[in-house]
């Protein structure tokens, strides 16, 4: 019963997914983690129930009624005064009610199970990541590793990732479809999201809340890695990253796309289209939240690496279009 709807959709979607995406996973119908897998199941469950119980009868009966009782067919029974039947009334109300009750159970169960704030069950401690939404790029901070990145969210496969999310500018929404839920990022506030990748792979990441001209370029790659690869990646970032000092952060905070930011950063800032930073303080994330909340431009020195004294910085710079496309 459930599989009917499922096959309906799968047969439409899967070829599309397989044919063109290469190795970047785009969709929760092609889930790469437990959250997305549960969401896919939920999706098909609801869809299947509705395909059979809601759409099915209507799609069969409406054409039948229309044809059977067409004006020209004088053979069909005509009852112009017939306007009520207790039995049919009861069915019309109770049918949908029963469906809704069933669906409500599923809904209640999964809404609690998949609450994005809820830590995922795992025998490993989650990897902590702090995410700051800037205009047209996401900054991922690994507080325990002291590094950060833009354009790349690396994560060890099989280990949960626990994210804290904020925005240094307008409202945004962090979303990695193949792994699971999206959630809003808002200035001065911290939302949370728990995800996990089952296996190594590359997953599309994006912002889904419109935030201006660079919106469509605010993509990133979430990359699941083996634990060893992840450690190697961290080492690599530590070795080759740029220090996230006041001046760099000021550029990051400007209203610019990732590509424009790379052009603006001095020297060879990247080798693969992404940006990597070292010397990232654990105090940076709360400092940004607090500064946004206070409407302050200054971050405390303690939150920054190698603070550069002669440059006045403004974390609030988004408005001053100065830092935008050079």
């Amino acid at each position: 019963m459930i599989s009917a709807g499922r096959w309906l959709v799968l047969s439409a979607v899967v070829p599309m997914l397989a044919a063109c995406t290469g190795n970047l996973h785009l969709s929760f119908l092609d889930p790469q983690g437990p959250v997305a897998a549960a969401q896919r199941w939920h999706f098909f469950e609801v869809l299947g129930i509705m395909a059979v119980l809601v759409a099915g009868p209507i799609f069969l009966l409406l054409p039948f009624f229309a044809w059977r009782y067409r004006y020209g067919n004088k053979a069909s029974r005509y009852a112009p005064r017939w306007e009520f039947s207790r039995l049919l009334e009861i069915m019309a109300w109770s049918g949908p009610i029963v469906i809704v009750v069933v669906l409500s159970f599923i809904l209640w169960r999964d809404t609690h199970r998949l609450d994005p704030y809820k830590p995922l069950a795992s025998d490993q401690t989650p990897l902590r990541v702090q995410v700051i939404g800037y205009d047209w790029k996401w900054l991922f901070i690994y507080p325990d590793q002291g590094i950060a990145s833009i354009g790349m969210l690396a994560m060890p496969a099989g280990r949960p990732v626990s994210m804290q999310i904020t925005s240094a500018t307008v409202m945004q929404s962090l979303f990695i479809p193949a792994l699971g839920s999206q959630i809003y990022a808002m200035g001065g506030m911290v939302t949370r999201l728990n995800l996990e990748a089952d296996r190594p792979g590359r997953f599309l990441g994006e912002n889904t809340m419109y935030n201006g001209n660079g919106f469509h370029q605010q993509h990133f790659t979430a990359a699941g890695m083996t634990p060893d690869d992840f450690s190697a990646w961290v080492q690599n970032v530590r070795a080759h990253g740029t220090p996230l000092d006041a001046r760099t952060l000021q550029l990051v905070a400007g209203r610019s796309t990732r590509a424009a930011l790379i052009d603006a950063l001095p020297g060879k800032a990247t080798h693969d289209g992404n940006l990597y930073f070292t010397h990232v303080s654990e105090a940076l994330f709360p400092a940004v939240v607090q500064a946004t909340l206070d409407g302050r431009a200054q971050l405390p020195r303690s939150a920054l690496a190698h603070a550069d004294p002669d440059r006045p910085r403004s974390a609030d710079a988004p408005h001053s279009a100065s830092a935008s496309t050079p």
């Binding site: 704030y117 808002m186 506030m189 949370r192 939240v289 607090q290």
Partner: protein, 112 residues
């Protein structure tokens, strides 16, 4: 001018008394919470509840004595007022419930 004069006088007296009663009750219901807040001495929560209850009572007093809302109305009129009250309750309490939950889960201080 069909109603006999004495009836009109009676009606007028009755309505006048209604206004006086209303004003008197409203005065009491105003003075009490102001006095409680001004001179204090009651725990904050109790005080808030008292203020709320007195405000609601005063609201009813105004409806009853100044706006003359009662159950003598035609049904549709009373329906209008009750329906509005229902929606107002849904909208205001829903808003406060939602915003409270959001505030609770999103401040920096609430982080683990």
């Amino acid at each position: 001018m069909s109603a006999p004069l004495s009836d009109r006088d009676q009606a007028r007296r009755r309505e006048f008394h209604s206004y006086v009663w209303g004003a008197g009750l409203a005065l009491v219901l105003t003075v009490v919470p102001f006095a409680l807040v001004h001179w204090g001495g009651i725990p904050r929560i109790d005080l808030l509840v008292t203020i709320g209850v007195l405000a609601l009572v005063q609201l009813l007093v105004h409806f009853r004595f100044f706006l003359h809302i009662g159950f003598r109305q035609k049904r549709e009129d009373l329906q209008l007022i009750l329906f509005s009250a229902l929606l107002l309750t849904i909208m205001v309490s829903g808003t406060i419930w939602i915003m409270a939950s959001l505030a609770l889960r999103m401040t920096l201080a609430a982080q683990p």
